[in-house]
Amino acid sequence: MQRMFMRRTGLALLLMLAATALTFALVSAAPGNVAALIAERAAGAGADGEMIAKIANDLGLNDPLPVRYLRWLGDAVQGDFGVSLRTGKPMSEEFAARIPKTLALLAGGGVLALALSLVMGLAGAVSNGGIVDKLLHGLALVGASTPNFFVAAMLVIVFSVMLGWVPTFGVSGFTSWLLPWITIALFPGSVLARVVRVNLQEAMSRPFATTGFAKGLTRRAVLLREALPNILIPYMTTFGAQFTLMMIGAIVVERVFGLNGIGAFFIEAIRFRDFIGMQAVLMLFVVFFVSVNLIVDIAAMLADPRLRRPRKA
C-alpha cells in the first residue's frame, strides 16, 4: 500500500515535469517575440532592434530550449514565475490575488455538484422508473448538454436582470457567488447524477443487495446502506475527472461573471501574448490536474477495503 502511494506520487511528479516541459516548448514555439514585447512596453514606439537584442540577451532568450526550461523550472520551484508582460506585476503576486477567487469558484461548484448529483441520483434510484426518476433523467441530460455560457446567460437574465436578486457582475458577498457556482456545477453535477443513478441500479441487481433485502431492510435502506458504499469508487474517480474539467469551465465562467480569477487572467494573457503569464498559468493547470488526479486515486484506494487491506496470502 505505502509503496503504491510512493509510486503514484513519483509518477505524478514525473507527469508534472513532462507536461510543464511540453507546455514550455509549445509556448516558446508560438509566434511572437518576448523581447520585442518587453521593449515595446518599456519604450513604446521607440523600441529599436538594438534594445530588443539586449533584452533578449539579458533574459537569456537566446539560450537553447532545455537550458531555458531548466532555468524557468529552477525559478518556479522557488516561487518565481516571472513578471507578467501584460500587467507588469510578478506572477506570484497575480497568483496570490487570483487563486483564492478561482479556488472559491471551484470549491463551491464542486460541493454543489456533489450535493446535486447525490440528491438527484438517489432520488432517481428511490423512484426507480417512476415519474421522479424520468424527470431527473431528463434534467440530467439537459444539464449535461447545455453549454455553460448559455446557462450563465439564462441565469443572469432571470435572477439578476428580471428578479434583481443577485448582482450581474463582480463579486460582493456570498450571493454574488451563487450564479457562478450554479453555472459551473450544472454540467459535472448532471454527469455525476447519471453516474450515481446507473451505478446504484447496477449495485441493486447484485447478490449482496438481495442479501440486504433478506436481512429485512427496506428498499430505501438497501439503497443507502448496501448499494451506496459500493458506488463510492466509480463516483470518486468520475468526480476527480469532472473537478479537473471544472477548471476549463472556470475560464468561461470567470469572464462571464467578472471574477478576476486565474481563468480570466489566462484569457487576457492569450489575447496580449503574455507568454510569461501563459506559461505560469499553464504550469498551474498542470499542477492542478495532476494533483487532483493523484488525490482522487489515493482516496479511491483508501475507500476500497479490498485495496486498503489486501488479503494476506
Partner: protein, 335 residues
Amino acid sequence: MNAPVYAVENLVIDLYTPSVSVRAVDGASFHVSPGETLAIVGESGSGKTVMTLGPLGLMPEGVAVDLRGTARADGRDILTLSPSELSALRGGFFGVIFQDPMSALNPMLKIGPQLASQAQKYAGLSAEAARKEAVSLLARSGIPDPEDRYDRYPHELSGGMLQRAMIALALAARPRVLIADEPTTALDATVQAQILALIRTIQKEDGIAVVLITHDIGAVSVLADRVIVLYAGQIAEEGTAIQVLTAPVHPYTRGLLASVPDFRSESATGTKEIPGIPPNQAQLMPGCRFADRCDMVQATCHSHRPRLQTVGLGDVPHRVACPVVIAAEGIVTHD
C-alpha cells in the same frame, strides 16, 4: 408431527422481463414444520430458487413477478403483505443463505457490525449486548477467533468461513424458517460437509424449520426429512427422504438418482445422465412437462397434465405425478 410454520399452497409464479415471460412455478405446494428439513431438488432452471425466494419478494430488480396462491407464515399469508410488512418479516421470520457467499456479502461492509445490527433490531438487544451476541454467533458458526473476524471484510475470509458468516448473519435475527439456496455449491468438497453439519446442528438446537435447496443427493439423504422433486416448475414427486430416495416412482426422479455417482453402492453399474434438456418454460405445453425426455412416455402424456397421486401412506404421504408408471407397476393409490 408439528404444525407447519410455513405453508405454501398452489403457488404460481410468472416472471416477466422485457425479453421473456416465464411460468417459473406452476401450482406447487409445500410446507415445513419447526425442526424439520425439507429438501428441494431438481435440475438447474426447474424453479427451486423462484419457488422459495419469490414469495419473500427476493427476486432481483428488473424482473416483474406475478405471484398467485397462498404462503402462510405462522398462519399469515405473506403474499398479501405490503412491502414494508414483508421487509420486517424477511428479517425476523425468514433467514436466507445463498449459494455464493463471496458475492452475497457486501464487499464494503464489515462482517460483525452487520450481525450486531440484526441482533439489535430483531432480537431487541442493546448495542453492547448485540456486539457480544454477534461474536458468539460467529463462534457458534464455527469461525475461529471471532473477536478478530468481527472487524473483517468479506475479502479477508475464505469461502467456507464466509458461508459460516452468512449463516451467522441469517441466524442473528433468530428466524423461524431458514431457507438455504444451494449453500454448499460454491464451496470446496471438504468444506461442504462441514457447512451442512453446521446447519443441522443449529437446526436441532434452535428448532428452526429448514428449506434446503440442493443438487447434492448425498446431502438430501443425510439431512432431509422430506424431499420435493421439482421439474419445470411442477412437483414431480414428494415424500420422505427414504421414500423418494429408496423407492422413487417418477421417471424423472429415477433418472435423477441414476445420474448421481455412487449414491447407492449396489447401483454402481455406472451413472447416466438424463438425456435431453428441460422444456422451454416460456412456451407452455399441455400434458406432462417431462414427456419429451421420458422413456416411459405414452400418447396420453402429451395431452393430459398428470396430477400428484398418493402412492404410499404414512405420516407423510408419498406422492407422484405420473399415472403411467403407477399403472404399469400396479402401484396402489390412496386418493
